[in-house]
């Protein structure tokens, strides 16, 4: 294996220089697209894109990577994270994932994370080497109605990580949302409808930076909220109890232009048919099976499976430092009834669709961005791992700050001969 990885690194170098085609051969390929799963298939990458997937021979002159006995999938997409916005959350300096009161906004919609993404954050490589190649990233707290506009980012090693700015806006209508908005759903829903009413005012289209505006929302907010109403920006709504989810369905009926995805949807299984009929997808953490509050008493490990069975698209992956565990979460959803293919789709195809980037990401199909992972086996199995990750066709280094620390102390334990730990080069 070590030799294989060395060869991989060498091929990555030659790729950069010659821009050669790269062909991964011999693997079981789960395309997650119309081609389904293919045995002993070949994936060809050229100029950052997927050239072909199938059982044909690799093109002449291509760099061949033998992945016999291994599994190839699209790169995983972190469905809901704050990657690039936080290094260490607690007592460790600036955290861009949380925003205090600012004159820019009263409703939270105007906040835009695209300016704050740090591609050098250690979390990026830690996540990348475990197969996460892109992620939705957003604010974790604003204390306002909306939690700002999130972005879709690449976890590649380039300096411009934003794949899609203003990729979504988040709103919470659960207990947490109520607590930040008057302490009651009574206030929360009133605020929301007022915000939508203001955004529907014809004057919004004529607003300039200095024109008069007497709304509850700020001018910067209302322009974004208008885009939500038009469906130009997806709206993620965090809701847990069935009653709140029914209110979201009613909201969709009142404002059909909204492009809604649910977050958590803890009791979504109780409203699954209606969600499927409204074509509302869900992003969830399938392991949350405890009644953390009175708005999630119906929590169960079977939520993902029941939603899927009703025809609801389910995405999995709500974490930041450990978004790499989304594959384990999906595996546990599978252990509790979700079909395996839906478990992998929850990490790839479904989030790409939710964020409107399914023309580029989420499946292995000719013409799409070459975010590809070679796994030692079933990616949902806790004992298997990503052996090589490609982002935009480039073979990524499989090192992170964590592997470097590990190697330093393995070396020290094996008698590195250095004077002190600080002199041990990993």
């Amino acid at each position: 294996m070590k030799n294989w990885l060395t060869i991989m690194t060498a091929s990555a170098l030659s790729l950069a220089v010659h821009a050669k085609d790269v062909a991964i051969v011999g693997a079981t390929v789960h395309t997650m697209g119309p081609q389904g799963s293919l045995e002993n298939a070949t994936v060809v990458m050229r100029d950052g894109k997927i050239l072909s997937v199938g059982q044909q021979a690799a093109p002449a002159g291509a760099e061949i990577i033998d992945a016999s006995g291994k599994v190839v999938t699209p790169g995983l997409m972190g469905a809901y994270t704050s990657l690039g916005l936080v290094e260490v959350g607690l007592s460790a300096g600036t955290v861009d994932a949380t925003v205090d009161a600012t004159p820019l906004t009263t409703a939270g919609a105007a906040l835009d994370v695209q300016y704050a993404i740090n591609p050098d954050s250690s979390l990026i490589a830690v996540s990348r080497i475990e197969g996460v190649t892109s992620a939705a990233t957003g604010l974790s707290r604003t204390q306002q109605l909306f939690n700002g506009q999130g972005a879709l980012i690449s976890l590649g090693d380039d300096a411009s990580p934003v794949l899609k700015p203003r990729a979504f806006v988040r709103l919470a209508v659960d207990n947490d949302g109520a607590d930040s908005n008057g302490g009651s759903r009574v206030a929360l829903w009133g605020l929301l409808e007022q915000a939508f009413a203001e955004a529907s005012d014809p004057a919004v289209g004529r607003l300039t930076a200095t024109s008069e505006w007497h709304g509850w929302t700020t001018k910067a907010d209302v322009k974004v909220i208008k885009q939500l109403l038009n469906g130009d920006i997806p709206l993620l709504i965090e809701a847990k109890r069935a009653a709140d989810i029914r209110q979201v369905l009613a909201l969709k009926a009142r404002h059909p232009g909204l492009d809604i995805t649910l977050l958590e949807a803890t009791e979504g299984w109780r409203v699954a048919q209606a969600l499927a009929a409204a074509d509302i997808a869900v992003i969830l953490d399938p392991e949350r099976n405890l009644p953390y509050a009175f708005d999630q008493l119906g929590a169960t490990l079977h939520n993902a499976a029941r939603l899927h069975a009703a025809g609801v698209d389910v995405a999995i992956g709500m974490n930041t430092h450990n978004i790499r565990l989304a594959k384990q979460h999906a595996g546990n959803a599978v252990a509790n009834g979700l079909p395996w293919e839906a478990g992998l789709a929850a990490l790839t195809r479904v989030p790409a669709r939710i964020y409107g980037v399914d023309d580029q990401l989420g499946t292995l199909e000719a013409g799409k961005r070459a975010d590809v992972v070679i796994w030692s086996g079933d990616p949902l199995e806790v004992t298997h791992n990503a052996e090589q990750v490609f982002i935009n066709g480039q073979a990524m280094s499989m090192e992170s700050r964590q592997t470097r620390l590990r190697d330093r102390y393995l070396k020290l334990a094996n008698g590195a001969g250095a004077a002190t730990s600080h002199y041990v080069r990993p």
Binding site: L290, P291, V382
Partner: protein, 471 residues
């Protein structure tokens, strides 16, 4: 690896009530008041083992939890104990026989770090009973007085194969108070869950939490303030012990000494110095742990386990030398500075250094799949050449935690004579897809995944959405 403390020491004599005779009346030199002693066990276990039928599980892969693996194995349970283990056993007359083709049997999982009951769900302020954040040293509080046995989390943990757990106070304080070991058999009162004969634990905490909580409340506000706080506490406890020893010696010598003033805080600290209470210390950074090794030697006590121990891999050799376990997550990291250097190979690296490694949860979700945490650590170790067998790795889940709780003579492995605490897994438990199908505590089947009517339901869940649902 862990010193076993005799439980008979805990069963000492009862308190004599001194109130009536302590009114300052002069006594003759030959006439002493009765000796005042301290009841070491005022909240005794009221646990009663459930009814059992002799049960033979056959045709399974057995991990005995102490390094042994038997293919096509059999385990026989009778009267709450494991009475035979092997590959060619006969079922006694009337025994229930379970055929586990393709399935695995392991010891029940023991979690040394849980806050179930003290930080239960729902997570209301009314239920937040895990941290007595009123003073940096609260050795006088006992976690068992906060445990709400109706926490739905117990049944979720049971479905994950957890048969025994230690419930600790939180980590806000330098000394958080007493921890208690319970059977995962919630009942009406906490006493009915308490593990009979288990010694007490005492929670301590290094690093960021105490200084963050007390920095603006009179201190400690720094790591050096933390260490001063531990040392003063131990010095006070030594002084307290000496007072009691002097009192007892003088009483024995026929004098009529006045007993020292009872101090509940120092009772617990002194219990540690006497070796009766086991220290479990929340500590992330290698240097914080390194400091505690010296504090431990200075005051002549033993730290049983560091908890979280995110940087144990840096000092695994030192921990092996001092006989201190590390209770760890597989891969949690980065949520605060002292967790920033977490690596996925921590557990196997500690094991490989010959130190005691434990997989713990500190989480009402993590406790439900500790087998997967061990599986990740096991696989991550193998990828860097730390070739540990599954049979050895299971020590992280049962035997080592049992040692750290002082109950390894009773449970924590599948050995003849031990309590029959075990799990039948649907497949190799080092897999995401494995589930606990049957869980036994003291030889009784207390969880059966395939029999929904038998699933435990907490009072809180009765009459609510999702009652009796598959959780």
């Amino acid at each position: 690896m862990i010193l076993q403390h005799s439980t008979t020491r805990l069963a000492a004599s009862l308190v004599c009530c001194a109130l009536l005779s302590a009114c300052g009346e002069q006594k003759a030199a030959t006439e002493s008041d009765p000796l005042v002693t301290i009841d070491p066990n005022p909240f005794p276990s009221a646990y009663t083992a459930p009814e059992t039928v002799p049960t033979l599980i056959q045709n399974v892969t057995v991990l005995d939890g102490v390094g042994g693996k038997i293919e096509s194995g059999m385990v026989l349970m009778q009267d709450g104990k494991i009475t035979a283990i092997g590959s060619d056993l006969q079922a006694p007359e009337g025994a229930t026989v379970i055929d586990g083709q393709g399935k695995w049997v392991t010891p029940g999982i023991i979690d040394v770090h849980s806050h179930l009951g003290v930080y239960p769900t729902p997570e209301t302020n009314s239920h937040s009973d895990g941290n007595e954040m009123t003073n940096p040293v609260t050795a006088q509080v006992w976690a068992e007085h906060s445990i709400w046995p109706q926490d739905p989390g117990f049944s979720r943990a049971l479905a994950g194969g957890v048969t025994t757990l230690q419930i600790l106070p939180g980590s806000a304080n330098l000394v958080g108070g007493r921890a208690v070991t319970v059977k995962n058999m919630p009942h009406r009162t906490v006493q009915e869950m308490k593990y009979p004969g288990a010694p007490y634990g005492m929670k301590m905490a290094c690093g960021e939490n105490p200084k963050r909580v007390y920095g603006a409340k009179g201190g400690p506000g720094t790591r050096m303030g933390n260490v001063a706080g531990y040392r003063q506490s131990w010095a006070d406890a030594q002084d307290y012990l000496r007072k009691w020893e002097r009192y007892e010696a003088e009483h024995k010598a026929g004098k009529n000494p006045k007993p020292p003033k009872r101090d509940l805080k120092l009772d617990t600290l002194a219990g540690v110095l006497k070796g009766e209470i086991l220290v479990h210390m929340h500590c992330y950074r290698a240097d914080d742990m390194g400091t505690m090794l010296d504090v431990m030697d200075e005051f002549d006590y033993q730290i049983t386990s560091f908890h979280h121990a995110v940087e144990s891999y840096k000092i695994a050799d030192l921990l092996a030398e001092k006989n201190i376990c590390s209770s760890m997550w597989a891969d949690w990291w980065g949520f605060k500075m002292e967790a920033y250097d977490g690596i996925k190979e921590n557990i196997p690296m500690v094991h490989a250094a010959g130190a005691c490694a434990i997989v713990h949860s500190d989480s009402d979700l993590g406790i439900q799949r500790l087998n997967q945490e061990a599986a990740k650590a096991w696989a991550d170790g193998r990828r860097v050449g730390l070739d540990i067998s599954q049979a050895d790795a299971w020590q992280w889940l049962s035997a080592n935690p049992a040692k750290a709780l002082g109950i390894f003579d009773k449970t924590g492995s599948l050995e003849v004579g031990k309590q029959a605490d075990l799990v039948l897994w649907s497949q190799d438990p080092f897999s995401t897809y494995a589930q606990a199908e049957l869980v036994y505590i003291d030889g009784a089947n207390v969880y059966d995944r395939n029999d929904p009517d038998s699933w435990p339901v907490a009072d809180f869940e009765v009459g609510q959405v999702g009652e009796g649902d598959s959780k």
